[in-house]
Amino acid sequence: MAHKCGNCTEIFGMLSEYLDLELPPAMCQEIDEHLATCPPCVDFVKSLRKTVDLCRQYEPSETPAPLGEAARRDLLAAYRRMLTGEFAKPEKIELPR
């Protein structure tokens, strides 16, 4: 069966961008049209979507040990210096845009 957007292999590389709504509308529409006639691809997309959902719900099994007294004291000292503006020439860290 022929599809406007080509075969399943061709859409395989674009499925994450499709799920994240990061594809141009025309490309999205072509994938929608393919999915409308290709149940195996629908199953695959569902499994990929579920994978993303599981990652978003992921709760790690490891948690940090309680913050030690000395470590908290160092952080609090740094916070107080921040409030009093004592970090005169901070190291330059470029802000994310």
Binding site: S47, R56, D74, R81, L95
Partner: protein
């Protein structure tokens, strides 16, 4: 973004405002919240609890030292993760250097058999993911192991994009790569994790006496 995560990000922004105002309660809440997040990211990236705890402490110290550079509180999460990412890199430089590994798209496609123009794929039945507590824990371990086994360049992207829910642009800025690179790596990371879960689901189905735990579907 799910509702709970949205509230979490809004709370982070409010925490930044309160920290700047000198609210002492905000200090402990900020430290507790981000220490846990940085630890979990670093633990997955460095692989050692001690390294992850050191990265969390070093990152938080840098955060306070450089706080005035965070001009927009809305960017606090990506800003903190950028500092954490650099701290992780410093830890890694002291360890054994691992060359970057690439994941191939072909290897991440479901198993397929070509018969003329038709291709048959094998995929587990994902409609009934485990709901019992013990299996949910098992699935969490499968997911954790799948992410931990990803080559580093893919692991960092899936942790930031899907676990921490940073945007593509934020992730690109944290990792200092282009948005196209983030998209490519994210897709391969997701496919690799999907493949591990698929294998796990097949094994469960096999244990329960299903037909190899797979459904064979015909591709075009």
């Amino acid at each position: 973004m799910v509702a709970g995560r949205k509230v979490e990000r809004e709370n982070e922004i409010e925490l930044v405002r309160q920290l700047r105002a000198g609210n002492p309660a905000a200090f402990d809440r900020f430290v507790e919240h981000f220490r846990s997040k940085i630890f979990q990211y670093s633990w997955m990236m460095c692989g050692h609890r001690e390294d992850a705890e050191e990265v969390a402490q070093e990152t938080l110290l840098k955060v306070f030292e450089n706080f005035e550079q965070l001009r927009e509180p809305e960017r606090v999460r990506s800003w903190v993760f950028r500092i954490a990412k650099n701290a992780c890199l410093m830890k890694r430089r002291r360890g054994i250097f691992e060359p970057a590994q690439e994941l191939s798209l072909d290897e991440l496609m479901p198993l397929a058999q070509r018969n003329g123009q038709m291709v048959k794929i094998e995929i587990a039945d994902w409609s009934g993911l485990p709901d019992r507590e013990v299996l949910r824990t098992e699935l969490r371990d499968v997911l954790q192991r799948a992410m931990a086994e990803l080559p580093e360049i893919y692991r960092s992207v899936i942790l930031l994009r899907d676990v921490e829910e940073l945007s593509t642009e934020e992730t690109a800025q944290v990792l200092e790569v282009s948005t196209d690179v983030v998209k490519t790596r994210l897709h391969r990371a997701r496919l690799a994790v999907r493949q591990s879960i698929d294998l796990y689901l097949r094994n469960i189905a096999e244990t329960r006496g299903g037909r190899n735990g797979t459904q064979v579907r015909q591709l075009h």
